[in-house]
Subunit: 137 residues, 2 copies
DNA sequence: CTTGTCACTTGCAAAATGCAAGTGACTAAA
DNA sequence: TTTAGTCACTTGCATTTTGCAAGTGACAAG
């Protein structure tokens, strides 16, 4: 006879999905990740100009929700690259539905497809590459 | 050479869609409308218990965005029934994508389908029916 | 006249947003 | 060594949005 509610608002799949991605920014970072962006800087430079504190917050929440995973792409200083998990990639269907709806009912809107970083570089343009230049080592 | 931006954040269909329905409540009222709810009271009684001030605000915005339309279902006092426009009904695809995603990745969630009002009544249960009982003529 | 219903509105405290500037760890150039 | 620059965040703080609770207006019914 459990009396504890397992859900915040209801058991509705829509309501619970919105508790995770229901705001103006979260799905935009998922969109960018889906389009190949990987670093904090790339995500911050999207045309919508997400405030950096919000971006940091969303990345934390998305990781907590198992939608993205971060792995270090360099050490000293350690920097993380963000990538979608299967759960995150599955949000592609939701994004697609939004794209279709938006294109059909909001005049002038378009689908911003394709990659993000200029070239196919694995790291921010011409940035600290760290060959084996170390100090204390 | 127009310099005025036509969009708040970008021309992205997703971003612009989120500017309209990107929050925790809006799509839930669309869901309810899609499921047959029509009056303020019915919408307010959904399991998520949307605060009434938020509900009033969302109905205003949705109407302003052309997603719903309100028509009086009774006079004295005038009361409005809300219904989805084609633009609003098209959001069904987005809702469906959310249902699928939620059911697949958020354990325990379900799709709350079907109607809302107890019976198929056109007006709130046993409420002021106004036959031709008028005062001022 | 009192009670009840429905659809909102109002007040206000708490939480979320957004902007700008600051910080930490380094690399690279002067 | 000092100075400048990059990347990834964090911090402060003012503004906006939420959310809860209670109040209001227009009635019908007893």
């Amino acid at each position: 006879m459990s009396t504890a509610k397992p859900f915040t608002r209801s058991a509705c799949a829509v309501a619970n999905s919105l508790d995770i991605v229901g705001d103006k920014w979260t799905l935009l970072v998922v969109r960018d990740l889906l389009h190949g962006k990987r670093t904090y800087g790339e995500l911050a430079n999207s045309p919508e100009r997400i405030p950096t504190n919000i971006l940091a917050d969303r990345l934390r929440r998305l990781e907590g929700a198992g939608i993205i995973a971060s792995t270090p792409y360099q050490e000293r200083p350690v920097r993380y690259a963000y990538a979608l998990t299967p759960k995150g990639r599955a949000l592609g269907d939701v994004l697609l539905a939004f794209v279709r709806w938006g294109k059909q009912f909001i005049p002038g809107t378009v689908a911003l497809n394709q990659g993000s970083a200029g070239a196919g570089s694995a790291v921010p343009a011409g940035s600290p590459r760290r060959a084996r230049t170390r100090r204390g080592g």
